[in-house]
Every structure is written in structure tokens, then in C-alpha cells.
């Protein structure tokens, strides 16, 4: 404990150099935190996806339209508890880059299947039955555009209404947010299917949905239920492709390619540079301090203790830098959320980060410490 002032004095000896080493460590660990956070978050999101929620979509058409009449037969499949459906289209609010995904559905069954979702106010769900053009809006979108409950919003979509315009107006009756990570995006605007469907022009787009969402009794039966649904509609005009939410999460999140390999290579390159840069700076620091080390040894500090002092100095810089860097890296993650979806960072990332920090500090400071250990008093005092 009594050596703390010595370590502190060594760090403060040349503040600019210490600050720069510190900054490099922070940046490297911010990168580590962000990259490792994304990959572990992705892996965790896949693990957390629900296996008891199945998605039924059209197998043939990319745009995936299925007739609304199919829902009744889906309900009769054994093992299926609840059935909801989603007719989705994309819209923008005021500016082309401000997107709002719209999901036209039956709000009651939708909220049952994705339960427990928090709807605020609680009366919003019944209000949807009264207000034909009502909408329950995800908290993500509410915050992004500063919308309030009761407000009427007009959104622009390439999906045309019967009168030929692409303007869709909704009255916000409530908000919703799902406490779980999995499930639909927090940006989704939920609208009444009947209202949207009746506004569509006559034609093939009417009375259809993009995919059905089923909740089944037992995740263990997912494979059987999938098989039953797909074989039931095989060779019909509406062949289906059924996937569990887990399958979908895996496909969606793995689409970025082999994330793990890329992240490991970048982190590897960063740490290599960090090791080299801090190692060289520590060496230089020891060279400048040679006479001081000689004084320490003259005063009776053992070789081992001098080595420990130098290592502790590096460790302090690394651990403090790693703590700040990891924290910053995690702060960066919401930027990635736009493209990858809602993910969170498991604590193992922090543990791994600190382990790396210790290893790098010992390796980077080790060479310098070794030199300090080997210095002979007479040489050191003469600065040879």
C-alpha cells in the first residue's frame, strides 16, 4: 500500500505520455466492447428468441401474400394456442428518411401472441375497437418523433389507398412496449386491419396478410406443428413456409456474415498495435528513468520489487483505460441497434475485457520491467 505514491509519481512523471497511453487503451477497449458486445449480443438474442412462436409465410411469393381465409384453418391445427396475423407495409413520416413500419392486424390477438406487452393507457386496447383509424404505437417511434397519445399523424407510403393517394392518417390511442428483447420491433405502429384493408383498392392485395404468428402449446412440438402446417398447404395455391422465431432470429442475425471471425480479427489487430505502442512507450519511459531506478535500488528496493512497481504502473493505466473504454463501447451500441436490432451486452464481455487488459499490461510492461530488473545500480546511477 505504501508504494501507491511511488506508482502515482511514475505515472505523473510525464503526464502527456501517460495520458496518451491511457487514451490508446481507452480507444482499443471501446472497440473491443462494441464489437464483442455486438457478437455476444447477437448470440444471446438468438438464444433468447422464442421457440414457441411460429411464423407462417408464403413459400412462393417474395412479398408473401396469403388469403385471410387461411387463418381459420390454421386455428384448427392441433397444438396451436393463439393465432395472429400481420399485414405489414412501410411508411415515412414527413421526411423520406424517417421510416415507420406499419402492422395492420387484429390488435387483440396480436397483443395476446406477443404478450406480455405493456399497453399504455390500459384502455387503449378497447379504444382500438371504437376508433376505426386508431393506432397503438411502439415507444421507440413515439420518442423518435415526439408523438403524444391523442395526436393524429399522417404517414406517406408507397402503398396506395383506393383514392390513389399514399397518405395514411391514424389517431394514436396508446403506446406499447414489450419488456422482452424478443418479439416485434419497438418501432412498430399497430393499426386496425379492417380499416387498412377497406382503404385498399379492389385487387389482389385485398383480404391478404404477409405472415401469421402462432403461439403453440409446447416448444418441443414446434417441429411437428411446422410439418403439419406446411404439408397441409402443400400443392395448394398458398404453399407455406413455417419457421419458429428462433430460426428466423438466427437467419436474420447471421445475415451480416461471419460476424465472430471479423470481430476477432479486428480486435486482434487493435490489441497487437496497442501492445506494440504501449510497450515501446514504456521502454522509453524506463530508459529516461534509469537513474531514478538506480536510486530506488540503492535505497534497498529489491530487483523484484522494482519490477513489480513498473508492472503495477502499466496495470493501473490498462485497467482504468479498459474500464472507461468498455463503458464507452457499450454506449456506442445503440448506433448499431438500427441495423442489427435490439441487443444487450452480457457481463461475460466485461470479464473477458478485463482479462485481456491484464494480459496485455503484463506483456507490454513485461519487457520494460525486465529491463528494470536487470539494471545494475552503478550503471543505472551513471545512466549507462
Amino acid at each position: 500500500m505504501k508504494f501507491i505514491p511511488l506508482v502515482w509519481a511514475a505515472i505523473r512523471r510525464k503526464p502527456s505520455r501517460s495520458v496518451l497511453v491511457f487514451a490508446q487503451v481507452i480507444v482499443a477497449f471501446a472497440l473491443f466492447g462494441a464489437l464483442q458486445g455486438v457478437t455476444s449480443g447477437v448470440n444471446r438474442a438468438i438464444a433468447a428468441a422464442r421457440a414457441d412462436r411460429l411464423y407462417v409465410a408464403s413459400k412462393l411469393d417474395q412479398r408473401g401474400a396469403l388469403p385471410i381465409s387461411m387463418l381459420e384453418s390454421l386455428k384448427t391445427i392441433p397444438g396451436v394456442r393463439d393465432v395472429a396475423f400481420r399485414y405489414q407495409f412501410y411508411s415515412t413520416y414527413q421526411r423520406p428518411e424517417q421510416g415507420v413500419p406499419i402492422c395492420a392486424t387484429d390488435p387483440d390477438s396480436f397483443l395476446t401472441v406477443y404478450g406480455p406487452a405493456r399497453v399504455d393507457p390500459a384502455s387503449a386496447q378497447s379504444a382500438m375497437r371504437q376508433v376505426q383509424d386508431g393506432a397503438i404505437v411502439g415507444l421507440g417511434t413515439m420518442r423518435k418523433y415526439g408523438w403524444r397519445v391523442g395526436q393524429r399523424v399522417t404517414l406517406q407510403s408507397k402503398l396506395k389507398r383506393m383514392d390513389g393517394s399514399g397518405n395514411w392518417t391514424f389517431e394514436i390511442v396508446g403506446t406499447w412496449g414489450s419488456p422482452r428483447q424478443s418479439g416485434p420491433q419497438p418501432e412498430l405502429l399497430i393499426a386496425n386491419y379492417d380499416y387498412v384493408n377497406q382503404s385498399l383498392p379492389e385487387g389482389p392485395g385485398r383480404d391478404t396478410f404477409k405472415f401469421a404468428v402462432l403461439r403453440i402449446d409446447d416448444p418441443a412440438h414446434a417441429a411437428q406443428v411446422k410439418e403439419m402446417i406446411d404439408s397441409k398447404f402443400e400443392n395448394s395455391p398458398n404453399e407455406t413456409l413455417t419457421q419458429s422465431e428462433k430460426d428466423q432470429a438466427e437467419v436474420n442475425l447471421r445475415r451480416l456474415g461471419d460476424l465472430n471471425t471479423v470481430a476477432h480479427r479486428i480486435v486482434g489487430a487493435t490489441f497487437f498495435v496497442l501492445l506494440f505502442a504501449t510497450g515501446a512507450l514504456m521502454m522509453q519511459s524506463i530508459r529516461e528513468r534509469t537513474p531514478e531506478i538506480g536510486v530506488l535500488k540503492t535505497l534497498g528496493f529489491s530487483d523484484r520489487r522494482v519490477m513489480t512497481l513498473i508492472l503495477v504502473e502499466t496495470l493501473v493505466l490498462y485497467l482504468a483505460g479498459a474500464a472507461i473504454g468498455l463503458w464507452l463501447g457499450v454506449l456506442l451500441l445503440p448506433v448499431a441497434r438500427e441495423s442489427i436490432g435490439n441487443i444487450s451486452v452480457p457481463s461475460s464481455v466485461f470479464a473477458l475485457g478485463f482479462a485481456c487488459a491484464v494480459a496485455l499490461a503484463l506483456a507490454g510492461g513485461g519487457v520494460a520491467a525486465w529491463r528494470g530488473l536487470r539494471l545494475r545500480v552503478a550503471d543505472a546511477l551513471a545512466n549507462r
Binding site: 490508446q24 411469393d61 445475415r255 489487430a269
Partner: protein, 386 residues
């Protein structure tokens, strides 16, 4: 002129003493090499997509999509639309008066790769008109598909990546059997399997194309054709040039890759700038007496400042080129599958230029403070330095 000569002399002095400061100079070179290496490798993904969107694009090819579609992937057009579009003005006609037009429908299906992994393959079903226009695709082995028969031709990339995708093999698509009869070569369709659209639409309960493509008489006739299609309410369709359509399909992925590249490159660059800063400070410290002497014999402080900056930059440029060069050796043409698109990464001169600019930025940020310190060193103090 004399000022330039002085700066040059000082820079040469600084560079010639680099061997005595090998450690700190190597730190600058290695960290900039690593930063530009990562930056260029990531940018090579976006660049690969950019090259893919540009490959084999014809200025006179127009792509018809359904009105609300953002890109060909979301587009869906009834197959009867082919004949209604054929009548529109502006379409180029062949010697017998037939319009140069074809319908295309895509499908993605899982196929087992050589590593026994299931991965999606794009199937592109086209009407016979496709083979009459010059799309850049040509048969290099076997023969072309015949209309009405369940036959497929595969690209060379697909043949190499997947099992049982050689000429003579059978592919099962939704319970029906299709024969591979040939291999084609194309820059823009290199990860596709091509079949006959009429056969496919008859075989499966599907009745829509994704796009209808036409060759217009001249790039100027494009506007005529576009207006005619948009103004026809029965079509509910819109028109893009082939370049726009390719770009619409690939843009989201490209923007994502570029965004990630610059975030990573920026962060790593920040770290490298700190490293360069520390190293150039060390270099100025090591040369304190030398700088003092030079100042004493009459070199101005501006030339000293610029020579320190130049030292950093002269280290940075070869380092950036080294980073880009390593990437070029490792990754140029390396075929990757990301976001269900198969494409070769491209390390181009543009990326080398970006890496040089990036490294100069790093060297400049890292060099400013140390160079000012060198310029402001009092001569008397500097000469007394140990």
C-alpha cells in the same frame, strides 16, 4: 524557394536519424498499417457491392417494377403485364419487329454447399427474350435451357461452391425435378441459377414476375417509355434504369458496410493518432539538442514545425500503402457471402487513396502538438539538453 530547401534539409535530417529511433518510428508505421488495413478490408466489402451493381449495366435497359416496390426484391407484376408493356413506345425492336423485352422472377432456395451447410441460392427465371439481348451472360459449357423444359444453367461460382451442381445433375425444386444443362459466365449474375420463366410459372402456383426488363431505342427514349408506363393506371408499375434498379437492391447493404467501415476506421484512427502523438513527442525529445543546434545556426521555427509534421507524414504514406497492399493481396477478388449476396471483395485505387488520406489525417493530428513544441523550444534550453 530557400524556405522550401530548408524544410527539405530538416526533413532529411529527421528521416536520416530514424534508425536511431527505430522503436517509436515502427510504432507509427505499424499502427497506421493496422488501421488502414482494417479500414480498407472493410471498405472492400462495400466496394465489391458497388462494382457488382455496375457490372454489365446497360444504359439502354429499363426495369419495370410494381408501383409500391422499393426494389426488384419487393416487386411483383402479373405475368400478363408482359404483353401490355410490349406495346409501349420507346422499346427497341429487332429485325422482325419483335420488342426486346423479358420478364424475370427470382426465388431463393436453400442448397447444400460443399461444406455441407445449407445456404440460400438465387434462382433467376427469365422469359426467352433474355437470351436475345446482350446481358453479358454467355454459355461457356453445355447448352442453353430450352423453353418448356425443366432445365437450368448455373454460374461457375455456383458450380464450384455447391455439391451436385454440375452439368447433368438434377435439382429438386418443391417436389419437381430440374436438370442442369449448362454453365454460364456473367459478372453481374455470378451467384445465380437461371431457368425458363414460363416453365417455372407453369410448374408452381405462382403467377408473378419480379421485374419486366426492356431495351429502349436509345437512352433518350427511356423517358418516353417511363412516362408511358407510369401514366397507364392498369399497370400500377414504375420504371427505373438498370443502374438504379441494381443500386436499389444493393444500396442498403452497401451503406451498412460503409458505415461500419468508417466507424471502425475512425475509432482505430483515433487510437493510432494518440500513438503517433506520443511517438512524435518522443522523437522531438530525442532530437532536442539537434533541433537546438539547427535553430542556433539559423533555421527558422516554421521550417522546424513543418519538418516534424513531414516526418510523421512520410512514415504514414508508406504505412497506408502497405496496409492497402496487404489487403489487396489477401482480399482482392476474395468471394464472400454476406446478407445472402455472393460477391468478390474489391480493393481498388480509390480505396488506396482513402487509406492514404486517412493516414495523413492521423499523422497530421498526431504531429501538430509535437511540431509546435519543437518550434517553440528555447534555443538555450535545447542546447543544454542531455
Amino acid at each position: 524557394m530557400r524556405a522550401l530547401r530548408r524544410i527539405w534539409l530538416l526533413t532529411v535530417t529527421a528521416i536520416s536519424s530514424i534508425p536511431q529511433r527505430l522503436g517509436t518510428s515502427a510504432v507509427i508505421v505499424i499502427s497506421i498499417t493496422a488501421v488502414t488495413g482494417v479500414l480498407v478490408a472493410m471498405l472492400a466489402l462495400g466496394q465489391g457491392l458497388r462494382e457488382l451493381a455496375r457490372a454489365d449495366v446497360r444504359a439502354d435497359q429499363a426495369v419495370v417494377l410494381s408501383a409500391e416496390a422499393e426494389s426488384a426484391v419487393q416487386s411483383s407484376l402479373p405475368k400478363t403485364i408482359l404483353s401490355s408493356i410490349s406495346d409501349k413506345p420507346g422499346i427497341k425492336r429487332g429485325s422482325r419487329g419483335e420488342p426486346e423485352i423479358f420478364g424475370a422472377a427470382f426465388m431463393y432456395m436453400d442448397v447444400v454447399s460443399r461444406e455441407s451447410r445449407r445456404s440460400p441460392v438465387s434462382f433467376y427465371f427469365v422469359t426467352p427474350g433474355f437470351w436475345d439481348i446482350d446481358s453479358g451472360a454467355r454459355i461457356v459449357e453445355g447448352r442453353n435451357v430450352r423453353p418448356g423444359l425443366r432445365e437450368l444453367v448455373v454460374s461457375d461460382v455456383i458450380r464450384r461452391r455447391f455439391r451436385r451442381m454440375n452439368v447433368g445433375d438434377q435439382v429438386r425444386i418443391r417436389g419437381t425435378s430440374w436438370q442442369i444443362v449448362g454453365v454460364f459466365d456473367s459478372k453481374s449474375l455470378q451467384d445465380w441459377v437461371i431457368g425458363d420463366a414460363d416453365t417455372m410459372l407453369a410448374a408452381f402456383p405462382r403467377s408473378t414476375f419480379n421485374t419486366v426488363n426492356v431495351i429502349v431505342e436509345s437512352p433518350a427514349a427511356f423517358a418516353t417509355f417511363k412516362q408511358a408506363v407510369i401514366n397507364d393506371p392498369t399497370l400500377a408499375a414504375t420504371v427505373m434504369t438498370q443502374a438504379e434498379s441494381n443500386d436499389a437492391v444493393l444500396r442498403p447493404q452497401r451503406e451498412l458496410f460503409d458505415f461500419i467501415s468508417y466507424v471502425l476506421g475512425g475509432l482505430m484512427g483515433l487510437g493510432a493518432a494518440c500513438g503517433a502523438l506520443a511517438c512524435l513527442y518522443a522523437s522531438v525529445d530525442a532530437r532536442t539538442r539537434e533541433i537546438g543546434t539547427l535553430r542556433a545556426i539559423g533555421f527558422g521555427n516554421v521550417s522546424v514545425v513543418i519538418s516534424v509534421l513531414a516526418e510523421g507524414m512520410l512514415l504514414a504514406i508508406p504505412a497506408a500503402l502497405l496496409g492497402a497492399g496487404i489487403d489487396w493481396y489477401l482480399f482482392n477478388g476474395h468471394v464472400v457471402v454476406a446478407q445472402e449476396i455472393t460477391f468478390p471483395m474489391a480493393v481498388t485505387g480509390r480505396l488506396a487513396l482513402i487509406s492514404v488520406l486517412w493516414s495523413l489525417g492521423i499523422a497530421l493530428i498526431g504531429g501538430i502538438l509535437p511540431s509546435i513544441r519543437a518550434g517553440r523550444l528555447p534555443i538555450a534550453v535545447a542546447l543544454k539538453a542531455s
